[in-house]
């Protein structure tokens, strides 16, 4: 393989950029240069960046619109929290517990991905989008019914579909603790997620997605996006590769969810609703379909933006929307692009990449 391939260089620059940004922010934080609200945002930003990368695998690389990605994040968050809390006495190291929680979150989200994928991936286009939306909501409601506790005998799980059961039905032994209390969500979570761990997860997600894209499987996935009939004619198994992309994407979202869930002391399943799915989709579309670098930048900027606009108080969502519209126009309108190119001459190359 040639190493001077332009796309490889771009991948390399993406990695370098993420590491550089991490170092800058890390040093700034240790010197107390970040505001309190911004340093509290660091882990969620990492989680959203990973979400954007993983959704870009489904939307940009596979080319199927998914509107229920927050559902996988939710599965990852709650299974991760359960794993981390129930192992708290066995494994004292918070780093190791965080890693285990992310792996567990990824596995459970992947399993959910398979269950959702089997019926959903038979559909195409708008229909697929609508069904994924429904699945996202179903996952949210299912988790709303869960009551989970842990004691010396292990995990106790109750499914509270009728609303008649409560925590006392778990019959926990003395010293046991409740992890998930139905609609109240998981409370008393020890926040063990850290910013460096988030950055490592971003890098890992990048390695997985970019290496996948440049491999035989990734080419097949992109071939399905570009021309399904031609892909079949050269012997590419449609179901297999759709499933591969969808499940990988779900697993990464699960890991991101675990990271996110372990950053707060309380986490409720209504956090992972349709709005969250759409927010992540906005990151992906704004950053460019199939463009991982764009996804990272868009996710980071658009997560910080509402916080940064707090000074505008009630106009901040309006300002957020205006920024979105301006960026959309700026990246898609040829005249606006030419204007930007004129204003910043050496920005031209960047504008081409964004196209």
């Amino acid at each position: 393989m040639k190493t001077n391939n332009p796309s490889r260089l771009k991948d390399f620059l993406t990695f370098a950029g993420v590491i550089l940004a991490f170092l800058v922010v890390y040093i700034m934080r240790s010197r107390g240069m970040l505001t309190r609200s911004l340093s509290g945002q660091l882990v969620p930003i990492c989680a959203y960046v990973v979400m954007a990368i993983s959704l870009n695998l489904t939307v940009g690389v596979l080319g199927e619109l998914s509107l229920g990605h927050a559902g996988f994040m939710s599965v990852g968050a709650f299974s991760g929290v359960v794993a981390a809390m129930s192992l708290a006495s066995v494994i004292p190291s918070p780093v190791l517990r965080l890693v285990i929680a992310m792996v567990v979150g990824a596995i459970f989200a992947a399993i959910t991905g398979v269950i959702v994928g089997v019926p959903v991936l038979r559909l195409q286009g708008d229909y697929l989008a609508i069904v994924t939306l429904a699945f996202g909501e179903i996952i949210k409601d299912l988790i709303n019914c869960l009551i989970v506790g842990v004691d010396g005998n292990g995990l106790h799980i109750l499914f509270n579909a009728t609303g008649s059961r409560s925590v006392s039905d778990l019959h926990l032994m003395e010293g046991g603790k409740v992890i998930i209390k139905g609609a109240q969500g998981a409370t008393g979570v020890k926040a063990i997620a850290t910013f460096p761990a988030g950055v490592v997860l971003i890098l890992l997600a990048l390695v997985i997605v970019l290496n996948l894209m440049h491999s035989r499987s990734g080419r097949a996935i992109m071939a399905l996006r570009d021309n399904r009939i031609a892909a079949e004619s050269v012997g590419i198994n449609v179901t297999k590769y759709k499933m591969m992309a969808f499940v990988t994407s779900a697993a990464l979202a699960g890991a991101a969810g675990a990271l996110y869930g372990l950053n707060f002391s309380t986490i409720v399943s209504s956090k992972f609703n349709f709005n969250t799915s759409i927010t992540v989709l906005v990151f992906v579309v704004l950053g460019g379909l199939g463009n991982m670098t764009g996804s990272i930048i868009a996710a980071a900027v658009l997560t910080i933006l509402p916080e940064a606009l707090r000074g505008f108080d009630k106009y901040r969502m309006l300002a957020y929307a205006i920024v979105l519209i301006v960026v959309m126009l700026g990246t898609n309108n040829p005249q606006a692009k030419a204007l930007v190119g004129k204003l910043i001459p050496h920005k031209k190359k960047g504008a081409e990449e964004g196209a």
Partner: protein, 284 residues
């Protein structure tokens, strides 16, 4: 008497071509394609009916007919994009009855499309590598982890892709996006991608469409070159009669979904039924 159509479950029979027009050099070898009485209905419309064709293992065959005669439909049946309603298709003696497009492709049937279908967002080289998809053997895990197998296989694939691109002198375009290629190059790339699947039967759907006479002449040479180099059979749909009469050994003529004539170029040109299909009936 109509021939009994073999059901899928019976053991494979040795095919005995009864009315084949395969070239002499292919005699004694298994014909690469035997389509027996195939037909397809779309609702009440009988799009193709009772189509029978045998293609020898290194034969260049033409499939011609007026617009709407059902030529592309036959290609779609041979590649199982459509499942034939009636009849049997044997590829190298194997019944393709229960198979789908992917399995038929693995048996060695490759095609190009009338309206070009490339993977536009991917590079020319990757398009060829996608053709070679089932010749490259490493899984998703090796790809993500970049195991030694990945590097080994990708190196072989790269070399093979360049070799295939050199047939049409397209090595320099390897890094270009397939969608940004000029029209003629896109047609050639589609043929190369099909060759990447290591086929025994290559189906070309109007390869000369939109080409000028000198490009067509070059294409004719290249089709013969491909046949000679790869020792494969080629079945092509084409409206350019110079091309068809120039390189096709056997020609099948289709009209309103029915085979109306089969034979050599000379037979076809003098066949009154063919002349009527193309030019209409003489009024006297």
């Amino acid at each position: 008497m109509p021939k009994k159509i073999r059901s899928v479950n019976e053991s494979p029979l040795v095919p005995v071509p009864t009315d084949s027009y395969i070239p002499k050099r292919d005699l004694g070898k298994l014909p690469v394609l035997e389509a027996r009485h195939i037909g397809i209905d779309f609702g009440g419309l009988r799009a193709v009916d009772d189509f029978t064709l045998t293609v020898g293992s290194t034969e260049i065959t033409g499939l011609i007919g007026p617009n709407g005669a059902g030529k592309t439909t036959i290609f779609n049946m041979l590649t199982k994009v459509y499942q034939p309603t009636r009849g049997t298709i044997l590829i190298n003696g194997k019944d393709t009855g229960p198979m789908d497009t992917v399995q038929v492709s693995k048996l060695g049937v490759a095609r190009t499309f009338q309206n070009i279908r490339l993977f536009n967002e991917q590079s020319v080289e990757d398009n060829v590598k996608l053709g070679m998809h089932n010749q490259i053997n490493y899984g998703m895990f090796s790809g993500i982890m970049r195991l030694p197998n990945y590097w080994r296989q990708e190196k072989i694939a790269h070399e093979r892709a360049m070799e295939l691109l050199s047939i049409f002198n397209m090595q320099d375009m390897a890094h270009m996006k397939a969608g940004s290629l000029p029209y003629g190059a896109q047609r050639r790339l589609e043929i190369i991608r099909a060759l990447g699947t290591n086929p025994c039967l290559l189906l070309l759907d109007e390869p000369a469409a939109g080409m000028n006479p000198s490009e067509t002449a070059e294409l004719m040479e290249n089709i013969i070159k491909i046949r000679d180099t790869f020792q494969i059979a080629i079945l092509l749909i084409e409206h350019d009669m110079n091309l068809v009469m120039g390189i096709c050994e056997g020609i099948a003529v289709l009209n309103f979904g029915k085979l109306i004539a089969k034979g050599t170029a000379e037979d076809i040109q003098n066949d009154p039924v063919v002349i009527e299909a193309y030019l209409g009936k003489k009024e006297d």
